[in-house]
Amino acid sequence: MKEIMKKIGMFFLRLLGGIGSFFKKLWKHRQGRVGLIIAGILIVCAVFAPIIAPYDPYDVTQRAEKGLSPSWEHLLGTSITTGQDIFSMLIYGARSSLSIGVITGITIAVLGSILGIAAGYIGGWVDTVIMRVVDVLLVIPTLPLVIVMTNVLGTSYAVIVLVFAAFGWTGLARVIRAQVMLLKNANYVKAAELMGASKWYIMWRHILPAVSNLLIMSTALTSAGIMVAEAGLSFLGLGNPEAVSWGKMLADAQSSGAMLFGHWWSILAPGVGIFLAVFSFMRIGLAMEEILNPRMRKGSSMVKVFKHLNNTYLQEVFDSMDDGSKLKGEYATCQINESPAGREMLGCGEYMLESALAEGKAEEPVTEKGGNDESAGS
């Protein structure tokens, strides 16, 4: 029993470590940081809504006069139809929007990864069955289907989550399947198979970690999409009628003629809410995509690579060179050749030399660089 508890504990520690390192990477990325900050604020709002919001929009006794303009008492006024405090609704609205987005996103990630990995790794008839199901589901438009389903099953968030999850995993499963098929042929997977590792072991230890970043990225992006869809459904009156959500606030403002009365704040507030939520999740997702795929990095040059590596060792080597060596670039290359991560550093070394040349600090090296290239990395 203790053993099992220890194992579970270790697993969660690892998971936390993985998530931590992921956030660290994201924090370093400028756009990712913007997304993280906004998403963080929204999540705090959602979790601590009863503390932050001055009124409880669900409490009928806390309703004020209908259609009040913004004042210190009601920061964004009150709604025209019910007299609820709009600022409080805005904060409570983060709850439904974010929870639907994130819950659906995570469900899709779980479904998509399980089915994608199964299809890609096991192959054979499992692959055929899953991919045919994907083909069928892909051609069904989700939003009209949700509208139909809410008519049949009633308007509740559970239905929205279920339908979006049931139809949203297909794209992710395809991407993951392709990735897994690449990984499957890696020699380290073959080596593990040779050692007698079970399929579960390989999927769990080798394949899942390799696609985990992809999963996080897609969760962020699909969550953003689902949030927009949820707002749209609520706007059409197909969301949960009892919940406070941004889409429903928009719908109420629209139907009560807020624009007619000049109550722009009651439309702007939920709009900004939706925008910020989607924007932040998209930022996180896109930043993740850029981190994962270096080729997408804009203007990636040696300068950036060098900054990225932030290698103090190289700088030391460069600083310790006397001017004569700097002129020839010999010292740098030979030092680099000896170092363990040879080639990468050699690239940077050449960059430094080039930059020195460009700044007129050094002359063209007399020795042939080709000879040095070949001996690198040994």
Partner: protein, 332 residues
Amino acid sequence: MQENENPLLKLEHICVTFPVKRDYPFQKKRFVHAVTDVSFEIGAGETFGLVGESGCGKSTLANTTLGIQKVDSGKIFFEGKELTAMDKKQLKEARRSMQMIFQDPFSSLNPRFSVFDIVSEPLRIMGGYTREEMREKVGQMLHEVGLSAGDMDRFPSDFSGGQKQRIGIARALILKPKYLVCDEPVSALDVSVHAQILNLLLDLQEKYHITYLFISHNLAVVKRICNRILVMYFGKTMEYGDVDKIFANPMHPYTRALMSAIFDTDIDTKHERIRLKGEVPSPINVPKGCRFCGRCPEEDEACRMGEPPLVEVEEDHYVACFHCGKKADADG
């Protein structure tokens, strides 16, 4: 064939084919003939070389000996037990004493794993070791392959190609296998580290009495470390036997062509380079007759009619060629 007292590994008439996708429905099923009727034995403690050009079935043949490639026909015996008839559980138990070193050290190590994770993976899969035991074993193993125990918590990207290959060797040897497949273990490395890795393999063989199946297309390497070799061409055995005898007296025209391609440091003596004409034919439509037809400098009508049998030309030296038999007769 030479009767070995108790060969570690014995292959009898192994055939492996892969089905080819049909171009159109109801097309006759076609197969790639990867390995056709290959038999050999590897004695315990020896180094057996498998030589041939790319795509001739070397790796497929090696995979069959590890039980990861199913054979279409033929039998494989490992330590006297029939590998081809084992169920999954028995196979897992048998694999405990077989391991493999891969050609490309860069893709054979999971970049997300630390060296400790990589080298301890066989222990983890076999089960029954505590973390402390694993750390101790991994430390010892790393020391044996010329790395230090302090490298345990670093990642593969911190190491050079040769060092990565050492990590791969440590992983393969941690369960103390009896049989190790080396699939071109040095061909992806810089020339300067070839000798280091080969010497390491030889030292470890001496220490642990491991049997090697050494796949290579570099005959110089094969000559240096193998006891016996099998020259394959297009899925079939061309020449097979003791390495010294084959190198002293290569009988098959293909072997001779391979040997003439060895890169020699001796630049003063000019040796003639045999250049083969043509290409390897399609393995789907195997031509009748000798497999080497069309490229062989010595082919005649008989070669095109039937496949030459593997004949023993001298003790522990077998050749599959119509001409060398005659030649041996003429010489003898």
